[in-house]
Each structure stands twice: as C-alpha cells, then as structure tokens.
C-alpha cells in the first residue's frame, strides 16, 4: 500500500501478540483502578478486585429483557473490544507494525467513530428506557467531543505531512508533538477518555440511570463491554505514543519498550484522572465542545500549519 515508510510490517500472525499486549495494558489499568477504588474506600489492596469481578460476571446467569433486539445488543456490547483491537493494528510497536496503512490516522478515527454506533446499539438493544437514554447521552457527548478530536489528529498529520502513523512518529526527532502542540494533545486525550465512556463522560453509564447503557447487561456480556471500555482507553493511550509522544524514541532501552512504557504511563494518568474530574453533563458539554474546544484546536492547527510551512 504505502511505498516507503518508517516502520516494517510483520506477518498477520503477530496480531495475536498485539492483542496480548493490549490485554496486558487492560489488566494493568483494571488493577490500578481496583487499587484506587479500594483506597478511596479506606481499604488496602484492591489490585485483585477486577479479577474477582470478572470471575463473578463469568459465573453470573445472563439476564434478558422482553423483546430485546438480541442481535444489535450483542453487536454493540462486544464490538467495543473489536474496535480497540482494530485501533492498535495501526500502532507501531517501536519499529514493527501489523498494518502499515498509508492513512493510519484516518483508520484510527474511523474506528473511534464506530464507538458511536456500538454504544447506541448497546443502549437500544436492551429495549429498556434507561439504557436507551444512556445511548442518547453518549451521542450528545459525541457531538461535542468528536470534532475537536478529529482536528486534534489533524495537527500531527500536518506537521509530519503524512497520515501514516509510523511517519508521524518518525517526524518527532528531537521534539515531541505533545510539547509544541499541547492543545491538540489535550483535546486528543479528552477524546480518548470520551470514546471510552470514562471519567467525565460516564453519565452515559451513570448510576442515576441505573447504569445507563449497561443497565441490562449481565454476565459475560457485561464483562466484554467493560473489557471493551478498558481496551479502548488502552488503545487510545497506545495511539497517543506515535502521534504525540515521540513513538519509540528514548535513551538506553529499545524502541518497543519505550512505546509500552509511555502507553502505560498515559493509561495510568487516564485511570487516575477518572476520580479527579467532575462529570460533564451531556446537555451542557455540547456548547463547551463547539465554543471552546473546537476553536482552540482549530487555532492550534493553524499554528502548526504556519510553523510547518515556515520550516520547509
């Protein structure tokens, strides 16, 4: 597909290794989340809590509702994990990548838009008012965060003059994009947190709606949905590494180790930040997205474009 890029493609069998790496990041994030939850309750430990919860959900009998749309419901709840796996397919681990697509940045963007459909379908499928309202809440958030996220992804692509993820990583020799395009980086991070239905964007699965989108999800379905949320968060953190955090560059250690370290640290910040930010009300966030975030990110794009033209 692409002529010459900064990374080498590896065989499709390595997709299993990529999935395992994503799984390791998910376990890390869930364990950290368990630790923080235990600490906030004044208890000690908590690292093993997510494993206990997973075991509980695996044994739980699956509950269903009257005239649920089973097909759409299952597609929605299980699709998040698939979308996250498709996202990491274009993330180079140091010098290797599975899918060296020349428009990898757009690919990531398309996969995160898929989450819109999947979350709404999870809300619709259960045939329950609470979960459907949760789905609408997510779309209301989506209208606010998606355009800033898209234009945040534009900035590194302009600076690297490429939509190939490996090329974007290679274009950051010496200076990370996160340093000189901080607004785009912050908007990107907010977008990742949003499409993972995480932290401030949790009203869609809020307890005021009895669990919102996941109100009627039980057993393995709920486990896969939760895994999907963590996987999206991890995939978003992993994609930030080549886009904003210099890819595999770093002293002493090999490139792939640095990618994993940077991804794990950013993921840790996302998990930690969940307790630090208030929820964004879906009806109010739209105006924040369009009148604050979007102009800020567009201005960032303009600055990046001017700098890029001036440098060449």
């Amino acid at each position: 597909m692409a002529e010459t890029t900064a990374v080498t493609s590896v065989g499709p069998a390595w997709a299993l290794a990529a999935a395992a790496t994503l799984g390791a990041l998910v376990i890390l994030a869930a364990a950290f989340q368990g630790l923080l939850t235990a600490r906030s309750q004044g208890a000690t430990g908590g690292i093993t809590r997510p494993f206990g919860e997973a075991a509980r959900l695996m044994r739980q009998r699956r509950r269903t509702t009257v005239s649920a749309d089973g097909l759409l419901w299952r597609i929605g709840s299980s699709g998040l994990l698939v979308a996250a796996l498709l996202m990491v397919a274009v993330v180079p681990l140091g010098e290797w990548t599975i899918f060296d697509l020349d428009v990898g940045v757009m690919w990531f963007n398309a996969m995160d838009v898929l989450v819109w459909a999947l979350i709404w379908l999870t809300g619709w499928g259960a045939n329950s008012a609470h979960s459907l309202i949760g789905g609408y809440r997510f779309l209301a958030h989506g209208l606010g965060y998606e355009l800033p996220l898209m234009f945040a992804l534009v900035a590194p692509a302009i600076a690297a003059s490429s939509l190939n993820v490996g090329d974007v990583a290679a274009a950051q020799e010496g200076l990370w994009f996160a340093v000189w395009m901080p607004v785009a980086f912050l908007a990107y991070c907010l977008g990742v947190v949003a499409f993972s239905v995480w932290g401030p964007f949790e009203p869609a699965i809020g307890s005021d709606l009895g669990g919102g989108v996941r109100a009627e999800l039980s057993g393995v379905d709920r486990l896969v949905f939760e895994l999907g949320r963590y996987a999206l968060l991890a995939a978003g953190a992993a994609f930030a590494v080549p886009m904003f955090l210099g890819g595999g560059s770093g002293p002493l250690l090999a490139g792939w180790v640095w990618v994993l370290i940077k991804a794990a640290v950013l993921l840790g910040v996302f998990v930690w930040g969940r307790r630090r930010l208030p929820a964004f009300r879906p009806d109010k966030f739209l105006e924040v997205g369009w009148l604050v975030l979007l102009p800020a990110v567009l201005l960032q794009d303009l600055i990046v474009a001017v700098v890029s033209v001036w440098r060449t």
Partner: protein, 187 residues
C-alpha cells in the same frame, strides 16, 4: 485470486445489507443495515487502492447513520418508531419503478460497447481522482463551501421560532440568556 474473491464477497455484503434495509421491521436495524452496506462499500474502495476515500467513507457513514438512527426513531411512523414497523410503502408502484430502473440500467450494461483501457493507472490514484474531480474547479468549490454553510445557518435561524428578544429580553440586556436548554459556558 483471494483478493478478487474478497472483493466480490464484500460487494455481495453491500448489496444484501442494502436490501435488508427494506426487509427488516425496526428502524434501528434498517439504519444500521444501511451502515453495514456503506462500510462494505468503503472496504471495496480499499481494494481499488483508494485508501483515503475508503476509510473516510467508513468514518462518515457510520457517524451519519449513528445520528440518522436518532432522527429515524424520533420522527418515522405513527408511533415514534420504537415499535416494529414496515420499512416499505406504496409497494406496487415502487416495485414497478425498481424493476423498470433495473431493466433500463441492465440493458445499458449489455448494449453499450465497453471502451478498452487506455494507458495505465497513475501511482497515486487518490490524488489523480481528486485532480479529475476538482482540479480546474477548485476555486468554484472553495467559494461554494462557505455559501452552503451560510445557507444552512440562515435556514436554521429563519426556522427557529425563538429570536434574540426571547433570549435576552426586549432591551437585549438580560444576562444570562433565558434558554429552554442551558448552555455549558454560561452565556
């Protein structure tokens, strides 16, 4: 060979998912069947080396269908489309139009002399396509875009029954504005 089979299989998915739009009995299923059809078309474009166009098709169409599902459920049918409903109406006339159109187009396919290929495809087919579509008309397109956006904004402004006097009071001095839907940044 495998690529050919995959191309045609995805084509079949696109057609069958498109047909499913009229077969299913729920607005959500119809909308997302259409989304699947568009995703399949997007992947077909990848096989044509139009990587950018293909991925953008998937991106835009999934986003559009996610929004469209909301409007379809809200406005379609006697009930607000939360119940099962038929996706077809005016069956006999529609069938006649569909068969007529198909016969017309199929006749065109069979009767016309297909041209032989001249030259070879360029290295970057995406930019060649962009040049062919937009090249000499770029100025026109660049002018039309803001005009279209202005038309949309003007249309919404004219259609909205609330004016600035409803929001800010008769002397336009009321702050914050009185809105049925509170904004997020306290205007």
């Amino acid at each position: 060979m495998i690529a050919d089979i995959a191309f045609w299989a995805i084509g079949a998915v696109a057609v069958l998912a498109g047909a499913a739009v009229f077969y299913v009995d729920s607005m959500a299923r119809a909308t997302y069947a259409l989304a699947v059809s568009f995703i399949a078309v997007g992947f077909q474009l990848l096989f044509l080396q139009q990587n950018y166009v293909g991925v953008v098709t998937v991106l835009m169409m999934v986003m559009e269908m996610a929004i469209m599902a909301v409007y379809m459920v809200m406005f379609m049918g006697m009930n607000p489309a939360l119940m099962p409903m038929s996706m077809v109406h005016d069956n006999k006339k529609s069938l006649a139009v569909a068969i007529g159109t198909f016969a017309f187009l199929a006749a065109g396919v069979l009767l016309i002399d297909w041209p032989a290929r001249r030259g070879a495809p360029p290295a970057d087919v995406t930019s060649a396509l962009g040049e062919a579509l937009m090249g000499p008309k770029m100025l026109v397109m660049a002018v039309i875009s803001p005009v279209m956006v202005a038309t949309i904004v003007a249309g919404v402004v004219l259609a909205a029954h609330r004016t600035r006097y409803d929001r800010f009071g008769d002397d336009l001095k009321r702050r914050p504005a009185e809105d049925p839907q509170p904004g997020g940044i306290g205007r």
